[in-house]
């Protein structure tokens, strides 16, 4: 291979400008300023600064890596990385300069003085600030370029540990919430200060993950083969032990997490329930349902009407006792299934993309009807339904004279702590807060999960998948497409109803605006990003899409922006999702094995694995 000693300007310019768009874009839409409030490592780096600097680091790294692979001279490589970093600084520099000449804020509301201050690293003098900005980004490009020279193994460990540090920095509030139940305050202050990681904690995490991942890259294969070499009975046993640990963990989770995080987990759980349901229609049966919120709304409203103690509940209207929560669950599920059935009928003959738009129409029709004055006497219009009661069960204390038998336990139940909360729930059976409701949601999720697992590998599941793959061929093997479609919508609706019922009882008040299109989009996004048709993918998707934004309040403002971007990027780069179903994963591995020799990467054009695109029938 000949050594390339000249700089290739055109790709450098392109890569640099592409990287430079990121800081420009995120600054202009206000992301940099909002994210700047969150420090990743205390006093060292904020998330906002990361948005500005990281693209340069990455582009420097990628440029250098590409050049090294093609056998360029090390000096040329390093210089290219530096130049790429420098070019990446230009767009945002331009923004600062233009704003100095013509204040942009009248039109671009996010270009605030504060933003400019951040971009100029809080320097009074614009020129010093700009020099700092350009210098930092150029340097970042160079650093990224240097990283490309580190041997493979060490580099991978470096990247992993950097990612872990950044993630733990982002989630430091979450870490704090958990740790404060176990360790002393003063120790906690050493690790997390305010909302961010202290620098010594960051350093410690970095070193530990670096060593661990280095160890894993050398010895990981041995560990895996050691496990694979164990006798089958022992493997099964260890799997059982792990499952047991997972079970106990799930049981204790809300008390480990505390009330605030339990609320987050509850939301994730509700979305897991809905995701598993929608996955039946979208992932398995290939019916892109954009009106899933309909089922959620029906479940919630029926619960509202039947168990509310307010003026709209049947208690006040018909003069009978409101039903209790546990009786409502089957009713809500059946009502949602009926809705699913009814709304399936009109769309049976529609082509895939028309079906999507029509279901979206249904969702909006339902919301508008719920808002209207016409139905206001029944479901409250914009004011919604109030006073929806929480579930409760007869607790042990009501059934047995516990106070006489075991006063110690009863006392324990009044205290704070992991076990106490659980005991309290057992004794009194009141699902009053997010920590108690967690169990209702967990039970619901497990139920839906069970049903989904059963259906996945069954005649019904295969009918759905065959229909997704090719309706005509499915019909030719004897599948009644009409019934199969109706069944997919009906079964898929059930878990929407369940989630709606739990939701109504959890929040106590429901308004039409809780049932907007966004719910459908959230559920759809999480199953697509998690991995269509993949059950673990849905859990991963819900954690990433529902859980993360609630932990990172800064994100919530940009939540839908990120969802949208993720949907596009996933479809372009990884249509099988974050955690694809096992079959797809196996096939991906097979495809990778076939092409052992990776072709020289051509930057700029994202590689699209065409083989994996046919999740549905091809265009013609």
């Amino acid at each position: 291979m000949h050594e390339n000693r000249t700089l290739d300007w055109r790709p450098l310019l392109r890569a640099g400008l592409l990287a430079g768009i990121v800081p420009l874009y995120t600054a202009a839409i206000g992301m940099v300023e909002v994210f700047n409030a969150r420090e990743v490592v205390q006093g060292l780096l904020t998330l906002g600064e990361m948005l500005v600097i990281f693209p340069s680091l990455v582009v420097g790294y990628l440029v250098a890596l590409g050049l090294r692979r093609s056998g360029s001279n090390p000096l040329v490589t390093l210089a290219s990385a530096l130049i790429a970093g420098f070019i990446a600084a230009l767009p945002v520099t331009l923004l600062v300069l233009i704003n100095a000449a013509i204040p942009l804020r009248g039109m671009f509301v996010s270009v605030t003085p504060k933003l400019i201050e951040i971009l100029l690293f809080e320097q009074e003098q614009m020129l010093t600030g700009l020099a700092l900005l350009i210098g930092a980004l150029t340097l970042a490009g160079g650093l990224g370029g240097l990283a490309a020279f580190i041997p493979d193994r060490f580099r991978r460990a470096l990247i992993v540990s950097l990612v872990v540090v950044i993630l733990s920095g982002l989630l430091s509030e979450f870490i704090k919430q958990i740790l404060q139940q176990f360790i002393s305050r003063s120790l906690l202050k050493q690790i997390v200060k305010g909302k961010s990681l202290t620098s010594q904690a960051a350093a410690a995490i970095f070193v530990v993950t670096y060593l661990v991942s280095l160890f894993w890259s050398t010895k990981g294969q041995d560990v895996k083969s050691w496990y694979a070499g164990l006798p089958a009975a022992q493997q099964r046993q260890s799997r059982r032990v792990w499952r047991g640990i997972l079970g106990i963990f799930l049981l204790l989770l809300p008390w480990i997490m505390g009330p605030y995080l339990s609320e987050v987990i509850d939301n994730v759980g509700l979305y897991v329930i809905m995701g598993l349901g929608l996955n039946i229609a979208v992932g398995w049966a290939g019916l892109l349902d954009l009106g899933y919120v309909t089922n959620f709304a029906v479940g919630a409203y029926i619960t509202g009407v039947l168990i509310s103690t307010g003026p709209l509940g049947i208690g006040a209207r018909l003069g009978i006792d409101p039903l209790n929560f546990w009786m409502i669950i089957p009713i809500a599920i059946l009502a949602a299934m009926f809705t699913g059935f009814v709304f399936a009928l009109p769309v049976l003959r529609m082509r895939g993309d028309y079906l999507a738009i029509a279901t979206l129409g249904f969702g909006e029709i339902i919301r508008l009807l719920a808002l209207s004055d016409w139905l206001k006497p029944y479901i409250g219009g914009a004011q919604g339904i109030l006073f929806i009661s929480k579930p409760d069960l007869p607790g042990l204390a009501e059934l047995l004279p516990l106070a006489d038998w075991a006063p110690g336990f009863v006392e324990l139940a009044q205290k704070k702590g992991v076990l106490s909360g659980l005991l309290k729930l057992l004794f009194y059976g009141e699902f009053s807060g997010p920590q108690e409701l967690y169990y209702v949601i967990l039970a619901g999720a497990l139920l839906v999960l069970f049903v989904a697992l059963r259906l996945n590998n069954s005649r019904t599941g295969r009918q759905w998948m065959a229909m997704r793959e090719d309706e005509d061929a499915a019909s030719a093997v004897g599948i009644d497409i009409t019934l199969t479609k109706v069944l997919a919508f009906t079964v898929s609706a059930a878990s929407g109803g369940l989630a709606g019922a739990i939701f109504a009882s959890k929040v106590g008040t429901i308004f039409p605006n809780s049932f907007s299109l966004l719910v459908s989009i959230n559920v759809l996004s999480l199953i697509i990003i998690g991995g269509m048709g993949s059950i673990p993918g849905i859990v991963v998707g819900a954690l990433a899409l529902i859980g993360l934004p609630e932990l990172l309040r800064e994100f919530s403002e940009f939540r839908l922006l990120l969802y949208g971007a993720l949907l596009v990027v996933m479809m372009l780069v990884r249509p099988e999702g974050l955690w694809p179903s096992p079959v797809i994963r196996r096939e991906m591995a097979a495809v990778e094995e076939e092409s052992e020799e990776p072709p020289p990467t051509d930057k700029g054009t994202p590689e699209t694995p065409q083989a994996l695109h046919s999740l549905w029938e091809p265009t013609d």
């Binding site: 059963r454 998948m465 005509d472 093997v477 797809i584």
Partner: protein
Amino acid sequence: MSDNILEVKQLVKRFGGLVAVDHLDYELPRGSICSIIGPNGAGKTSFFNCLTGFYSIDEGDVIFDVYSLKGLEPFQVTRLGIARTFQNIRLFGNMTAIENIMVGQEPHLHSSWIGTILGTPGTRREEQMVEEEARRLLRFVGLRGKGDMLAKNLPYGDQRRLEIGRALASKPKLLLLDEPTAGMNPAETLQTTQFIQRLRDELGITILLIEHDMKVVMGISEKVTVLDYGKKLAEGTPEEIQNDPRVIEAYLGRGAAQMMAEAA
């Protein structure tokens, strides 16, 4: 019960002004292998689609066994005992080979989704039987050990065989094959031909082929029917068809037919 498994009477299928199948009469003897040939656009596949419920029948009637197929949907036709393959293989690409065959057994399954969720013994037994039968069929079509591959990743010849396997899974009385040897090399073609013959001899399935490869057609058919412009042009044994000037004309044009006649 008549000796014909299939009787087509004055079948007509129109697309706007175009008559794809034009007052066609056709009889298919039980237990035979028969072929339909004809130039491109002669209405062969349209004829198949009329038989299997993919196209609605405009006029005339199709009697299968004792049932009229008029107005039936494809899945109903399949449940009566007619299975088909497609000209451009239509497998369920993102399902594994064995799943494709398991789906193919659809007409004989009874378990419901409720039974599946509850895990009733009947459902479990059926699931087990379905899988065993699928493995057996995989071996039968020569795909042993490839059951866990996604259908779309199988090589072309295997895909053809899997499609036939899927059709067989419905235990059909009549099998319609739309160009089963298209795109195959001579060795594969020979293999497929023998396989088709075995299907009839060993399983007693009546077979109707659409085929372009004259060697295949003439080698295994008991009756050959030539379609042109949706009409029956000629019908008879392979020898009769080979020597029929009208057929040569339809395929090669008038001049060629004359030349052949003169040469003979």
